[in-house]
């Protein structure tokens, strides 16, 4: 069964009196546990497609099914709950909550979204922080971290709720070459360990080279699908 199924998905933005088509009819099926990258120039529709799969936006036409749920039928409340239960997010600008420490940022979705009891939270968070190599920084605030460290915390936050799917929009865009590779390696390791699907929107060749499936987008359409044989040792 597909984790993600898109049927003739269209998205049109209305800017004043002008209709701007962002997606022109996408059909796509993605199986669980994959490491997938959407690539393409700016304005090709990568982020729009990611927002639709992430249940953050609704298509103008077509159906989007994620983990068997038609997300076009969800209201604000149920969509938020669905995201909290099924999807993790990693952002280009890390988007950590500045008033919370590293530990609290990872803890946030467990308390505020999934209401996980305290005794279960601690072990899960410490394990994840250990895996992303941030356990010794757990009491620091985001402002005290480097870009790479922040993104590692963001990865831990995205995975702590044990989602079926993690969506990452340009996750390495604000990182230097070396750090970007380390972060990609970490995400790969997490995907392997938790069997979580990772989907990226990027035009970073580093990520493209690491993806199992590369979907190239142009003008709101998927124009090319390329499968890479992945045989990578995780750092």
């Amino acid at each position: 069964m597909s984790l993600i199924l898109l049927e003739n998905v269209k998205k049109t933005y209305i800017s004043g009196e002008i209709n701007v088509p962002a997606l022109r009819g996408i059909d796509l099926s993605i199986n669980p546990g994959k490491f997938i990258s959407f690539v393409g120039p700016s304005g090709s529709g990568k982020t729009t497609l990611l927002n639709l799969i992430g249940c953050l936006d609704k298509p103008s036409d077509g159906r989007v099914l994620v983990a068997g749920s038609d997300i076009t039928r969800l209201n604000r409340q149920t969509a938020a709950k669905f995201r909290g239960d099924n999807i993790g997010f990693i952002f280009q600008n890390f988007n950590l909550i500045p008033v919370l420490t590293v530990y609290e940022n990872v803890e946030y979705p467990l308390i505020m979204v999934q209401n996980v009891p305290a005794d279960k939270r601690k072990k899960r968070i410490l394990d994840l922080l250990e895996k992303v190599g941030m356990s010794d920084q757990k009491d620091k605030f985001p402002a005290q971290l480097s870009g790479g460290q922040k993104q590692r915390v963001a990865i831990a936050r995205a995975l702590v709720t044990e989602p079926k799917l993690v969506l990452a929009d340009e996750p390495t865009a604000n990182l230097d070459h070396h750090t970007a590779y380390k972060v990609i390696g970490l995400m790969h390791a997490m995907q392997a360990e938790f069997d979580t699907s990772f989907i990226f929107a990027t035009h970073d060749p580093k990520i493209v080279g690491e993806a199992e499936i590369v979907l190239t987008m142009e003008d709101g359409l998927i124009t090319k699908t390329q499968e890479n044989p992945i045989n990578r040792e995780v750092n």
């Binding site: 953050l56 936006d57 909290g84 988007n95 979705p109 505020m112 709720t161």
Partner: protein, 416 residues
């Protein structure tokens, strides 16, 4: 809930300067309301205490129409003996009436054999008057101050302004000349037994003589009087008791007119200070309104800024699954926390200043009275300020919080 409180508290600390500025504004507002209210109420109760305990009593009963002509102190609007018996019977059996004093009030010419002037007089039985006006003898600065006999037959207590104006001293003899209700003029000699200080209002400059002397001077043969001053057991029940007395006296009608014979007035209707008291009350209300405005504007402003500055953050927490209700709660808690903390600090500062004022013991002159400022901690006002700040903070935070909760995560994330 603890997490929401923690996040709200840290967000307040995140913008320390802005939080401190807003908090200071609310704190000062709350402290001012408490202090102003305490001082205003202290001033009011001090003056009301002096007026009711020195000459007015808590309320008075007159013949219908008397108060309308009170400036002339008419002697033709008296409570006749049969009606007086009815009132006595009512007052003697009323559980809330502590004491009452029958009076004849009139104007007279007073002469020290070299100068003559006008004077207002209250004729009383001193032992009864002292029970109604418990502080009256304290106002007597020279002479007899025994509550039972401070004005004996043949003696007079004169106000300070007459004493000074006519250079009359204790023990001097003066002559009172008065016209009775039938136009007959009579004069009697009195010995000055006391000199009383003046207080606010026309009655504050009355002289006192014995009621039997007044009857002799005015050639009143029956037991008629012009007014009855009443002291209640519980001053705070004044309005209720007044209504009761009015309803009980209403059925007693005049023989000729058939209309109600009596009228009942509280001290407020008899003293010009009632207007000042109302102005003080109004000012306290104005200060409260200012406080409400300060809280509303400052919290609304700070929370709006907070929401606009954190649109990206709102997008993040919404995208990772925070329910709109929790986002609403986060911002509401932040606004409420700011309001509550400021209100509590304002209360502490306000109460502290009130305690300092009490310790310093500030005296000041109001008209001809020396007042001592002794503000009590206004429990109702402190509760009012906290409740008001909480309600207004919630109200002011609601709009920004709703805006945050209703934000589409995809739009909010674009602000990152």
């Amino acid at each position: 809930m603890i997490s929401i409180l923690k996040i709200a508290w840290r967000n307040l600390r995140r913008y320390t300067r802005r939080t401190l500025l807003t908090s200071s504004l609310i704190t000062i507002g709350v402290a001012l309301v408490i202090i102003f209210s305490a001082i205003g109420n202290s001033f009011k109760s001090e003056v009301i205490g002096i007026l009711t305990n020195s000459n007015l009593g808590d309320l008075q009963i007159h013949k219908h129409g008397y108060v309308g002509s009170i400036d002339n102190l008419p002697l033709d609007l008296t409570i006749s003996e049969p009606n007086l018996h009815k009132v006595r019977s009512l007052l003697n059996n009323h559980p809330e009436v502590k004491a009452y004093s029958e009076r004849i009030r009139f104007t007279a010419m007073v002469s020290n054999f070299s100068q003559t002037t006008n004077m207002r007089l209250t004729a009383i039985y001193p032992e009864k008057e002292s029970q109604v006006c418990t502080d009256l003898v304290e106002r007597i600065k020279e002479g007899e101050t025994n509550p039972e006999i401070f004005v004996a037959p043949g003696s007079i207590v004169i106000p300070l302004n007459i004493s000074k104006g006519m250079n009359v001293k204790l023990g001097d003899e003066i002559v009172l000349v008065a016209t009775n209700s039938e136009g007959s003029v009579n004069g009697m000699t009195f010995k000055v037994a006391g000199i009383s200080e003046n207080i606010l209002g026309p009655q504050g400059k009355d002289g006192y003589i014995h009621l039997e002397d007044a009857r002799a001077l005015l050639r009143i043969e029956s037991a008629e009087i012009t007014e009855i001053a009443i002291k209640l057991n519980h001053f705070d029940r004044l309005d209720q008791i007044t209504l009761e007395l009015k309803s009980q006296l209403e059925p007693i009608s005049g023989e000729k007119t058939g209309k109600p014979f009596f009228e009942v007035h509280t001290w407020e209707e008899l003293s010009p200070f009632a207007s000042i008291s109302k102005i003080v009350t109004l000012l306290i209300v104005v200060v409260r309104i200012v406080l409400v405005s300060i809280v509303l504007i400052s919290i609304l402003n700070v929370m709006m800024m907070s929401v606009y500055e954190r649109i990206g953050e709102i997008g993040t927490i919404a995208s990772i699954g925070t329910l709109p209700g929790k986002i609403l709660a986060l911002f509401l808690t932040e606004g409420l926390m700011l309001g509550i903390l400021s209100a509590l600090i304002g209360n502490v500062i306000g109460i502290g200043i009130i305690l300092i004022i009490n310790a310093v013991k500030i005296n000041f002159q109001f008209g001809m009275m020396t007042l001592s400022l002794a503000p009590a901690i206004p429990v109702a006002e402190t509760l009012f300020s906290v409740i008001t700040v909480v309600l207004i903070s919630a109200l002011a935070s609601l709009q920004p919080a709703l805006k945050a909760a209703r934000m589409e995560p995809v739009d909010a994330l674009r602000h990152v």
